[in-house]
């Protein structure tokens, strides 16, 4: 009996899947051919004719490879996108929001402000509170960006995907501010455009820069990858 798996691997084109998946597909197709062969043999068909009849199951191996690739890869790509973009982006956003919550919590504790943020005593109280929450958050943001970009790189994300994953908290904030401004168009309030610009300046630009600082080290290719590419 022929080595059906070797025969399939010889004919099947690369499917662009993980080696384990390709191996599994080859085993499954080989099993089918083996069953066809066995069936022919039990009906008294000669060896060479049984092989021939089994191989007739596939008129065009490139065509079959293309069909399997089409059926399997969409799923792979979706998983890949989740692993390289959505999961790291959500982790980056969640940590950024967590740090914002913590820094706001601390900032709203007047005793802490009085003791630890002496520099803010010169401003008005509300501005002091805002800055007391904002500045520590800004300092922590590079770590959020770094976490997103690192996880994306570890999952095999390309450079633009890593950048997107790391900057995602900033993008989400921009989306939120834009949405609130649009709502303001429906229910107008005073100074909405100046509020939008202020929000952009405080919630987009400095956090964006802070996140980018964290993302930067992970935009470089890992050493092993760089070696392969060279």
């Amino acid at each position: 009996m022929p080595d059906w798996k070797a025969l399939v691997l010889e004919r099947l084109e690369a499917l662009g899947l993980s080696p384990t998946q390709e191996e599994e597909i080859a085993s499954e197709l080989a099993g089918h051919l083996e069953d066809c062969y066995e069936e022919c043999r039990t009906h008294g068909v000669g060896k060479s004719e049984a092989i021939e009849r089994s191989l007739e199951q596939v008129a065009s191996w490139p065509n079959l490879s293309r069909k399997i690739r089409g059926a399997k890869r969409k799923e792979e790509m979706m998983n890949h996108r989740t692993r390289t973009l959505w999961l790291p982006a959500l982790i980056s956003l969640a940590t950024a929001m967590f740090f914002l919550m913590i820094s706001t919590q601390i900032a709203l504790e007047p005793r802490v402000i009085a003791e630890r943020f002496i520099i803010l005593h010169t401003s008005t109280t509300s501005t002091s509170y805002s800055f007391a929450a904002y500045l520590p958050w800004l300092i922590l943001l590079p770590f959020c960006g770094a976490a997103g970009a690192y996880l994306s790189r570890r999952a095999g994300g390309q450079r633009p995907v890593r950048l997107l994953a790391g900057l995602f908290p900033g993008i989400a904030l921009f989306g939120l501010v834009s949405f609130l401004t649009l709502i303001g168009q429906i229910v107008p309030f005073q100074h909405q455009w100046s509020a939008f610009v202020t929000a952009l300046l405080f919630l987009m630009v400095p956090p964006g820069i802070a996140l980018f600082l964290g993302v930067m080290p992970f935009l470089k290719e890992p050493r092993s990858q760089a070696r392969v590419n060279n």
Binding site: E24, I25, S27, E28, L29, G31, H32, L33, E34, D35, C36, E56, Q57, V58, A59, S60, N63, L64, K67, I68, G70, A71, K72, K74, E75
Partner: protein, 113 residues
Amino acid sequence: MKKRIRSQIARGSAELAILALLAEQALYGFEISKQIEERTEGALHFTLASLYPMLYDLEKRAWIKGRWEANSAGRDRRYYSLTAAGKRQLEPLRQEWSFFFRALDRLAGVTHA
């Protein structure tokens, strides 16, 4: 005389055939193709090349799932079974085909042909 249904119609009905079979029991690829051929008296025929892309597609849609198990001959084969989502799809598909055949019957009297 046995007649093969033309490929376009066969492809359309293949989904229903596979899901209906797997609703009864878990089967591996070769068994699926054998049973479909036997039970349709050769009207529906699956080759390896037509069966597996369809199985992988159904698996991608999470209507069926495969797992490796040894068959009666002790050889490892990938058995497919219907998922809960697949079970939910089966009834509407049956109704759709039944509606299609009734409509065709009204139009062309296919049951009296």
